[in-house]
Amino acid sequence: MEVAGCSMSDLLLVEDNASEVMIARRAFRLHGLEHRITIVRDGAEALDYLNGDRPGDEGERPPLPKVVLLDLRMPRMDGRAVLLRMRADERMRDVPIVIVSSSQARSDVLDCYRLGANSFVVKIVDADRPGEYLVDVARYWLDVNRSAA
């Protein structure tokens, strides 16, 4: 699994919470998906990654991921802002975006769909199989879904 400088990731996970990153990473690893995942820690970093603006990218844009799993509440730039920018960007317009949030508010769900999210997943606290739901989501978007991008 590449965390930085990766040019071949199928899935970009944008998550600021360290524990959740660890849990997600372990779950992906257990299911042999770690090499297809890139994890960034906030919205700004996500856009830098997608635009090839990170140090080490040397201006070269990586291929777009097959799906972006996007947390809503994050420092610096939150999920909504990322959603807006991606949908306004010619190149990233069609990249599937799955909102992964602990919010269950209907207003949040509606907002995100209206801003162009393709899916809304409420974070699941699974005491027996932590982070497994992310694997389920990833499997679908990586292996089942056919996207327009």
């Binding site: 919470n17 524990s19 209907r106 606290v125 699974d126 932590p130």
Partner: protein, 528 residues
């Protein structure tokens, strides 16, 4: 015992009585008898039969109290000016009466006195003479109707007068205002009025204070109309005046009292109004404060539950990770501790999820549409795990009327009620659930009935409280907010929720929604 006040009243009454008698005297003289005197002189001086008749007619026209005037010569009536009534009176005079009238008083005018008519009325017969012309001069008789005369005299005066005429002690005339039963009360004869025509032909009326008894003795020889007693029922006036005075004082006192009360009431009203306004303002203020507080609490509840959820999830997750990834290398007590950490965190999570759900039920916007409840409930039951498998329950779904409500709310409510019905069964029993509904006048009511463990009706209210549970949590799991959410969501729909049941005999949960919404056609959606 006569109080000073009673004495004063009596004194005032006698003054009023005297004044009234004088007023009556003045008006009788002016209106009736005065003109008669002057006319009599003129007529008799003229001594012209033609002229006499015209003047007599003219006089009668102007003085309605007189019904007839007759010219008498040598004890015989030679000319008459009269109304039909007056003619009758004259015709009824017998020779004796005429003779008496002619002989009555050679120097003045005299009265033959009252004559009682066949119909019971009394009239006064007045002889008019011209003393200066000597014995042989023509005479005249005038017929006066005392009722008309006195009613004219009394016309326009305060009510309460009554007139009574006594002749030689006999009650010959009374106005309708005299109480026929209270006749002989001496007090009402305190004032009398006498008529008289002086030697010069003028007519006078004098007030007298003779009592009725005295008049009886003295009456016959008075100058012209001796024995005529007109008793204005002064006592009645006195009585009335006393009464009026007392009543007036009472009224004045009552008025003062009443005005005081009205003012007090008005002040009270103003005060009540002011207090009401203050109260309303306070209620509005408190209500708005309360709403704010509730909103803050909801927000607090939501954000706490929400924010704690993530670290709690981490505790659970890492407990699981330790146990799964490193469990083999852990000693038994450590694994036990880890299990306890995990199970405690699970409890907290469950409660927080309940709180979150409850909080959401109060915050989420309600969007009402026409909901096909039949379909909704059918789908819910089909999806239940209890609907399948070896120990599958039975779900009896009746005809469910549609509802005007938030579809997702209804789904949640029915889901809570049906899963409750499935949950609270006796050990190992498959659930038997019946779902029905009906439309009342203004409400649509649904019920979910089970044959499970039931509950004690004493706790029926508590069922709908937050975290209220009637069973130990390790017996029947759940976070204890399901029914609280149902109650709250129904309340937010303008409806309600209640339960009936008995221990060991199953339970029935009802929800009620207002039918309304049909009028709200713009948002109406059929069979969502």
């Amino acid at each position: 015992m006569r109080s000073q006040q009673a004495y004063e009243l009596e004194r005032d009454a006698s003054v009023i009585a005297r004044d009234s008698a004088r007023a009556i005297e003045a008006r009788i003289e002016e209106q009736d008898l005065g003109p008669l005197g002057s006319w009599a002189r003129a007529a008799l001086t003229a001594n012209d039969p033609e002229q006499w008749h015209d003047k007599a007619e003219l006089f009668l026209a102007d003085h309605p109290a007189f019904s007839a005037i007759a010219r008498v010569e040598g004890g015989r009536i030679v000319d008459v000016a009269a109304s039909r009534d007056g003619r009758e009176v004259l015709r009824s005079l017998d020779a004796g009466q005429l003779a008496r009238s002619e002989a009555a008083d050679p120097v003045g005018a005299g009265s033959v006195g009252p004559i009682r008519l066949a119909d019971g009325r009394a009239v006064l017969l007045i002889q008019i003479a011209a003393p200066r012309l000597g014995e042989g001069a023509p005479k005249a008789l005038a017929v006066l109707d005392p009722e008309i005369a006195l009613s004219r005299v009394l016309e326009g005066r305060a009510t309460g007068y009554a007139i009574r005429v006594l002749w030689g002690g006999e009650d010959v005339y009374r106005t309708s205002k005299v109480d026929p039963d209270g006749a002989e009360d001496r007090s009402w004869a305190v004032e009398s009025v006498r008529f008289g025509i002086g030697p010069d032909g003028s007519v006078s009326v004098r007030a007298n204070e003779l009592a009725a008894g005295d008049l009886r003795r003295k009456a016959p020889w008075f100058a012209l109309i001796t024995g005529l007693l007109i008793s204005a029922l002064i006592a009645s006036l006195v009585h009335v005046s006393q009464l009026s005075r007392i009543r007036a004082e009472e009224l004045a006192r009552a008025n003062v009292d009443l005005r005081g009360r009205i003012n007090a009431a008005a002040r009270d009203q103003v005060e009540i109004h002011r207090l009401n306004e203050v109260l309303e303002a306070r209620v509005a203020e408190r209500t708005s404060e309360l709403h704010e507080t509730i909103a803050e609490l909801e927000t607090f509840n939501y954000s706490v539950s929400h924010d704690l959820r993530s670290p709690l999830g981490a505790i659970l997750a890492f407990s699981a990770i330790i146990s799964q990834d490193y469990g083999q290398s852990l000693d038994e007590p450590v694994r036990d501790y880890l299990k306890r950490i995990s199970s405690s965190a699970r409890d907290i999570l469950s409660q927080m999820d309940g709180l979150l759900a409850f909080s959401r039920s109060g915050r989420e916007e309600i969007r009402k549409t026409r909901v096909d409840v039949q379909k909704l409930v059918q789908a819910l039951c089909d999806d239940l795990p209890e609907a399948r498998g070896a120990n599958a329950g039975t779900f009896l779904i009746g005809d469910l009327p549609s509802a005007y409500a938030d579809a997702s709310v209804l789904r949640l409510v029915f889901s809570n009620l049906i899963s409750n019905a499935c949950k609270f069964v006796r050990d190992g029993d498959p659930p038997h659930v019946e779902i029905g509904g009906r439309v009342d006048d203004r409400d649509v009511v649904y019920f979910v009935r089970d044959e499970g463990i039931g509950f004690d009706m004493r706790f029926a209210e508590r069922l709908f409280g937050v975290f209220e549970r009637l069973h130990a949590s390790d017996e029947y799991e759940g976070h204890g907010v399901g029914l609280a959410i149902v109650a709250r969501l129904m309340a937010r729909h303008g409806g309600g929720a209640w339960a009936e049941g008995a221990l060991g005999k199953g339970a029935t949960f009802y929800i009620r929604l207002p039918v309304q919404g049909e009028a709200d056609g713009s948002r109406r959606v059929l069979h969502v």
